[in-house]
Symmetry: C2
Subunit: 203 residues, 2 copies
Amino acid sequence: MAKRAAPYHHGDLRRALLAAALALLDEGGVDAVTIRAVARRTGVTHAAPANHFRDREALLTALAAEIFTKLSALISKRLEKAGGSRDARIRVFADAAIDFGLRHPHRFRLIWRRDSLDGADDALNRAMDGIYDRLVAELAAGRGRAAVSADTQAIGLWSMVHGYVCMRLDGNLVSKADEATGEPRRKAIVTAFLDGIGGGAKK
Amino acid sequence: MAKRAAPYHHGDLRRALLAAALALLDEGGVDAVTIRAVARRTGVTHAAPANHFRDREALLTALAAEIFTKLSALISKRLEKAGGSRDARIRVFADAAIDFGLRHPHRFRLIWRRDSLDGADDALNRAMDGIYDRLVAELAAGRGRAAVSADTQAIGLWSMVHGYVCMRLDGNLVSKADEATGEPRRKAIVTAFLDGIGGGAKK
DNA sequence: ACTCAATCTTGACGGTGTCAATATAAAATG
DNA sequence: CATTTTATATTGACACCGTCAAGATTGAGT
């Protein structure tokens, strides 16, 4: 027994491969995470990973699931420290996702690049859905007379955060940095979404 | 002269390569667009494309620029038919981008996958900036007492639209389709952004 | 007619993912 | 403890990829 804890030859090759893959990802992006490079870095031959990951897609998927779990933990930690204000708790999600994306660009790109991943993977889907469900729960709690459902709000907010990080990482907003924060519209877009951008009179 | 119209041997290999690349993209996604496959489909040898595209990145970049231009044209056409209402004109951008993304998934994924493209390419940047600038112009026209600038609104809205299509293409919202439209929250998220999702009293 | 440059072909190199066959070592069984 | 079974790792091969260098071919300019 204890199959996962101390496998046969290597000790725990699966974990070692994932660690090497994460290092390669941070250093050189998704393209640098090749099966052969991961095997080299771990000190095994090029075909050894095949025992633990069906193919490269499976390796990337497992890596993405791990990263998703870390992001989820980050959000949890911040939510604990957050106050009870609904807006503040909503901002936790946006801030955490943006922080994460800016701090680990390659990880962010990987987990959202679903066409390079196995969409049917359970671990991946559970990790993703977990974050989403918690966001919906926060949005549903004590909201006012909003015209749309919490689900809709969650989809919209999460979409916005995702797209914002994408553009930042691609260098699309460099000319638009605020003098105050040095970051282009980071807080402002969340404010915009909270307040609305329509022509109606504001608060 | 007329270099572009009728080059030397093939007629217009550059254009032919781009057409083949687009077909391959639609059929099999970005991964199917290899230099060799494009050459095969065009009927030339595998090294011929090198005369027109420095490398694969350059080919994908040129393809993306072409696609961006088409998207821009689509928006233009719809804006002409749109009324004068600010909200309606804003919705044109969101609707066009979403329509485009859902209709041509692989094209959408390519043009936003900037880490596979040449970020310094002029044609690409001009095509992208053109869309963004027009969106800012529409947002700036006759908006009310909004708390944030038109730039901020543009970044937020465009981010949201981008993220929404991503999630749709990845099959993340399948369980959330509206009974009315069959599309999950498509109009609603734009409404949410126009109206705001904060707790403040609504219209 | 001649030169020249642009264009395309041929052939090679190292890298990749993946498969089949083999060796090895741990676990299970007697 | 000996033996069998199973999981794991190695070796070697294959086809495909992007890219480079060298040569052949063709159009344009003079």
